[in-house]
Amino acid sequence: MLNPSTAGQPAAAGELGSSLKSRSGKPFDRKSRLFFTNRLFRYICIGCAAFVCLILLAILGLMFRTGILTFRDVSLSEFFFSAEWVPENEQYGALSFIFGTLALTLLTLAISVPISIFVAVFLAVMTPGWLKNLLRPVMDLLVGIPSVVYGYLGLTILIPLIRDLTGSSMGDGLLAASLVLTVMVLPTISRISDDAISAVPKRYVDASYALGGTRFQTIFKVMLPAAKSGIMYAVILGMARAIGETMAVVMVIGNTPQLADSLLKPTSVLTSNIVMQIPNVPFDSTWNYALYMMGFLLLVISLLMIVAVRLFQRKGGRV
């Protein structure tokens, strides 16, 4: 807020300064107008912030309130530990979707994190300046490609390829989905890790070289550990994107509600099952509530991840 006592510089504090400090006696003089507009602006800002919080709480509340109705007809253990999802027979076991989401995310990270870190090291340490300036915008553009494009390419190019290479008759499944997701999260993880590695203080690197460390030792023993929290932050952001991704996954996963005991077996995840079934579901049915519950689960998982990101960010500040 504007502070009247320091507002005017001594040189320019003529008429302006004095009218701010003392009232002129009119009912709406400069001081009270300023006071009023400053206050108003403050309340508008607070109101906007409160509105955003309200939206979040309302979404959480609605998802939870509708989702919890599932458990009037379905027991907790059936929902979380049964893999039988047959809405037409009143069987609502979401285990295969929860398992599918977790397995898909882990598989994606297992493929994408090592590659991303090598890309990030390459970008931050080994690239000459002009190539760096070329590659970084390219990575940023990759982040912006709509997921449906990735999904379509997966459907038309990746799946026939998998079919030919593995000899399976369909090709849909966790493998295809995790490869598509890897391509999607790769730029996110490597760009943020790149920033983290670039931010490692030069004196650490110099000290390592001064002690006779090779470039390999400097990168793996000094730079990566120093950038650890930044890299974790990048991985969690990538993970959040992988968990919530819907369109690209729905096109290549096969959408069959069954536990995936093989990488090439068509299966389903939380997001893809919701988007497949929500247009066809009767409004007031356990089926609908169960889909809401699955949405709520997704929401909780991503909120937990955001909390984790915050924690790592705070830690990262201390390096």
Binding site: P87, P160, S169, G254, P266, M276, P279, F283
Partner: protein, 283 residues
């Protein structure tokens, strides 16, 4: 320049009132609002009819959108929509969906369905029994139904799809679908079904006849080819009516709109062009 702007505004306003008066004078006095929701298979037909209807009755506002079949009768029950387009008669029970009481079903079109296979499959005719066995997962290899030795990939619509309900009722005579297996997948729309059957070798699926392309084979069922002619002469019985569900007392505008869709002019004109079959052909 001020006088010029004023003049322009006045002329425009006059032109608008004049045109509104003349067009309203030429057509009927019917007014109101018709909201249509439901089946995406019937949406092209609804949109076309809405465009033509608006020319006849400019005071009637029609807004049409689509989600899934079951959304239609649900929206009517909740009072959100006046007409709920649905691929089955929602005033009766069908597999998976209870009937909607207090709603009237109006037939608006005949929709034929076809079982289709990828073009690498050498089979072009299946019996109803063979179809039932394939879609329930009992038969898993094409050689068991007269094809080459290859595993069958079954592509199904997800539960709740109107096409799925009709295919199950008419082609499979009500028998159950499989729900899992390593050569089984579900897709969420007719367009996805088309892509899946076209691009997956040894795949079998089903769709509206209008979606069938030259890149796949439409199967004969019990020796009868899925053509419009065979539907009309009642040799091919895998078809169903498309319905407009309304409440028991629809508004005048709604009644008039349904009457227009069922009129011979629309049925034999635009409806045929959109590859549906007129309902009068089945009487």
């Amino acid at each position: 320049m001020k006088w010029f702007k004023k003049l322009a505004v006045v002329t425009l306003a006059a032109a608008f009132t004049l045109s509104a008066v003349t067009s309203a004078g030429a057509a009927s006095k019917l007014s109101g609002k018709v909201v249509i929701n439901g089946s995406s298979a019937l949406l092209p037909l609804t949109l076309q009819a809405a465009n033509e209807f608006k020319k006849l009755h400019p005071k009637v506002k029609i807004s049409a959108s689509a989600a899934g079949s079951v959304t239609g009768p649900q929206a009517v029950r909740k009072g959100i929509a006046d007409i709920g387009a649905c691929d089955w008669d929602a005033s009766t029970d069908v597999p998976g969906f209870k009937k909607f009481t207090g709603q009237v079903a109006n037939k608006v079109a005949v929709i034929p369905f076809a079982a289709v296979v990828n073009s690498n499959v050498k089979v072009d005719n299946l019996t109803t029994k063979q179809l039932q066995d394939i879609f329930s997962g009992k038969v898993t290899n094409w050689k068991d139904v007269g094809g080459s030795d290859a595993e069958i990939v079954v592509v199904n619509r997800s539960f709740g799809s109107g096409t799925r309900v009709n295919f199950q009722l008419k082609a499979l005579k009500g028998s159950d679908f499989m729900s899992k297996g390593s050569n089984y997948k579900e897709v969420k729309s007719s367009g996805d079904m088309k892509t899946a059957v076209e691009s997956t070798p040894n795949a079998i699926g089903y769709m509206d006849l209008a979606y069938v392309t030259s890149k796949m084979t439409a199967l004969k069922i019990d020796g009868v080819a899925p053509t419009e002619a065979n539907v009309i002469n009642k040799k091919y019985d895998v078809w169903s009516y498309g319905y407009y569900m309304t409440s028991e007392k629809p508004s005048d505008a709604t009644k008039e709109f349904i009457k227009y869709v069922q009129s011979a002019k629309f049925q034999n004109g635009s409806l045929k062009k959109l590859k549906f079959i007129p309902i009068s052909a089945m009487k």
